[in-house]
Symmetry: C3
Subunit: 352 residues, 3 copies
């Protein structure tokens, strides 16, 4: 039985430990078609080689979130297979574009450990970096998960908690081509950096219902083997009573829905923080609204950045929600995602 | 809220108006695999590069209907997002083959407008042309949809109704390679142009059950964002009570089923007209039969054309239906599609 | 009606008859993505071009079972469309690797016929060979199916039963590159040929729930047109009451689950025999365990072979089953697959 990999428990981690995750993955056109079919994503840069070439790329780059899922999925077996909860993530960035035919892999360093006082579990903080086949960074992320102990009750007293930036600082150099001649007839959006205002809110009109096959196909495509997502027999004996949707799929659906209103914000610069406020299950319909939290000028004169808060809801239209939390600061029961992230959007002068 | 694109209403259209639809799409092998998985299509020309090369192509061309869906899907946001009903289409043709790696886009001209006497809606008639990256026409179609008015009750009195050909005339030049040496061991069909008789009927033996994930994956793959197809929460408050299947998916399923009996009719020349007689929902099983309406000789000696009527049924076998309409001319409740289209089929002399 | 191909009946077969199955298929990256999404397969050789090149391939070869399904699917129309039961298979081997862009096809010879005494059916034994576009063998298999007679009651008395090897003999030459420097950080497995013991049992910890869209997308992707898998309306009037899952999909799911414990056994050498002990339906969760039946040394010093028995269960964890059969030799009701197959696994010395 010892040949079975049951994943790591709290005691298996130590500060500074480095893990090279197995399963390097060569990304294909099939993965890209799946992402469009699973999410309905319409951001034009990722749909057309001709458009991508006009925007300075050799061909269409991967949607940042697709790359995230394909790369991140590799860490589940080693980091979060025995997770009780995925508590949070921070400082997620996308340093270089990824293209079909690239091979991505992931490496992780343990940067924090905190034993829980109940003696049954602890929190593991990790820093993961995704690489392409040329050893260029394509993903940089920190996250923390609550993990079971192997030996309940044995206390080590470890408490080493790293600090995270609330929002990732924007670097001087941003690795996207110089933008000019953005064809709004191709992107489908008329609005650029200058057109958005802080505190403006966009109620995206579309809702997308997710079925069991959708989210399990997505999770398996990403080779993410967290049991909660695809073992319905096991889940029936839990309080959830059914398979839990992979939180990353909800992020992708919300991003896809946000297209209507943010058509030219085709790049994610960073994910600053996110809360999966309530679980999502098959047959739920996802809606979303977005607030502009901050406008960030950049020394490049062709682009700016918008820090956004996208809130996703299940089975409730965004018009009905003014604040995702109640007066006690608790998330309303239909809120499934509260995402703080920064996108790159060209300036008006780039409009063709 | 003004950044949200809520689609066009009846008053937003005018005769002669030209619309360039966003989202040019580079077609990939992933899209082709999806089409086979979603429809079970077995027409051999679209399955094998080796066979396609023997038939005069550089590689396997896209199934005409897959190209149709990927191109047509772009027009929904601008033309039919606020449609009450898709009333019809005519003169649909496929002037040039499309291949993986081609980038397709769509442009539309408004050719007719007719206000409804109720003051609440009107009919918009459009002519859309799909292009590849070399500006060659790959799709030519006319359709008309009933669209909501923005300002109910304000009458303009507009009534400009174009006329459509009942069946698209066959051109002297047909853009498919000269056929010879058709390998029936590869196509799976022994029958050629001369073998079919007018009024002959083919009861196709297969039935295909469609699930929610199937039709919503298809609709999202095509970046068709008509809400009725993927927002189950919204649809629950309508008389339908659930998501409506994209009519184009039903056409594709019927075409796939028609393979058994029409194996060598691997090209669609035109769609002359079609009626989505009743709605189709998840869990319905589609069956189909085909009648030969007309045999059309062509000056080319290697091919002929068959004008076909394919009737698709839900949850009823074709043997049980002699006429899809009752004595009052109303469609029977299990009829979901009545399609008049013309296919190209080689002549007996091309048989290897 | 005569243009409809209703498949072959028992009387249509004769010993020595050769059938070239239609629909050569060019395999694409889309098919590979589908296989990962449908099964969650994680065998590293099939996920990464970079890793495959380090292991001596020009690029990642197809998973043996994906190739099997895409090739085998072609034989359904001619051999098993009128099958009452797929009784067994033997001597299944994978002589050459298949890559994306290869075009595969299938040919069959009838090697046995046995009329049933009830006069209604008979057993057809066939030997099928799959080829790539260069006429190299990529699949070699024997199977036998019980097929309806066209004319019930007319007896011919034919009884010609071939014999099959219980396990396929291992050849001197095995067509995989010389292995060295296996990167266990990439494959995710530390164990090699020497580490496994005869009678050792691996209880694989993962379970995968299969939904209707999953198994029907798979079956349609393989262009397998056996009605029992995708015509729910028809199946409702049978004792099963619903669509039956394609047995090959169950094999693929079990193989995918077996990754955890057999990570370095990335090649299937042969399938010696298999029983689909009970039917599998949508919503079933598949679990699996594997026993090492035999360790087979090979004259190559870099690899060995393991003969395995993988038993798949529905809705029951492998820990709860010691023997898949009861004391009368009858399969327990939750056992869905009992597979005897041989895999290739590198030796310890190849570990990097």
């Amino acid at each position: 039985m010892s040949k079975i990999n049951l994943g790591n428990f709290f005691e298996d981690f130590e500060i500074g430990q480095k893990i090279i995750h197995p399963l390097p993955r060569t990304i294909t056109d099939g993965d890209v078609s799946f992402y469009i079919a699973l999410t309905g994503s319409r951001f034009a840069l990722h749909s057309s080689d001709v458009l991508a070439q006009k925007m300075g790329y050799k061909k269409k780059p991967l949607d940042d979130l697709l790359m995230f899922h394909l790369t991140f999925g590799k860490s589940v077996q080693d980091i979060s297979l025995n997770a009780i909860a995925n508590l949070g993530y921070a400082e997620v960035s996308f340093p270089n574009p990824v293209f079909v035919a690239d091979t991505v892999s992931l490496e992780t360093e343990v940067i924090g450990l905190k034993e829980n006082s109940n003696g049954k579990s602890g929190v593991v903080y990790v820093h993961s970096i995704g690489y392409n086949q040329n050893r260029q960074e394509v993903l940089n992320l920190k996250r923390w998960v609550m993990v079971h102990k192997r030996n309940k009750g044995e206390m080590s007293g470890i408490k080493h908690i790293p600090t995270f930036e609330k929002t990732l600082a924007v670097e001087k150099s941003i690795n996207i081509p110089k933008q000019k001649d953005i064809d709004t007839l191709a992107t489908g959006g008329e609005f650029f950096f200058e057109d958005y205002e802080v505190a403006e809110r966009l109620n995206h009109p579309e809702g997308i219902t997710i079925d069991d096959s959708d989210h399990t196909l997505a999770t398996k495509l990403y080779q993410n083997n967290a049991k909660v997502h695809f073992d319905d027999f096991m889940m029936k004996s839990t309080p959830m009573g059914q398979r839990l949707m992979y939180g990353g799929h909800v992020i992708s659906i919300a991003r896809s829905i946000s297209f209507n209103g943010l058509q030219n914000a085709q790049w994610i610069y960073s994910i600053n923080s996110g809360a999966h406020a309530n679980p999502t299950y098959a047959k739920d319909t996802i809606y979303a609204y977005t607030e502009i939290l901050e406008k960030i000028n950049h020394e490049r004169d062709d682009i700016g950045l918008l820090r956004l808060r996208t809130v996703a809801l299940k089975n409730q239209k965004p018009e009905e929600i003014s604040n995702p939390k109640d007066k006690d600061g608790k998330y309303l029961k239909n809120v499934v995602l509260d995402l703080d992230y920064t996108v790159i959007i060209p300036k008006n002068k780039t409009k063709k």
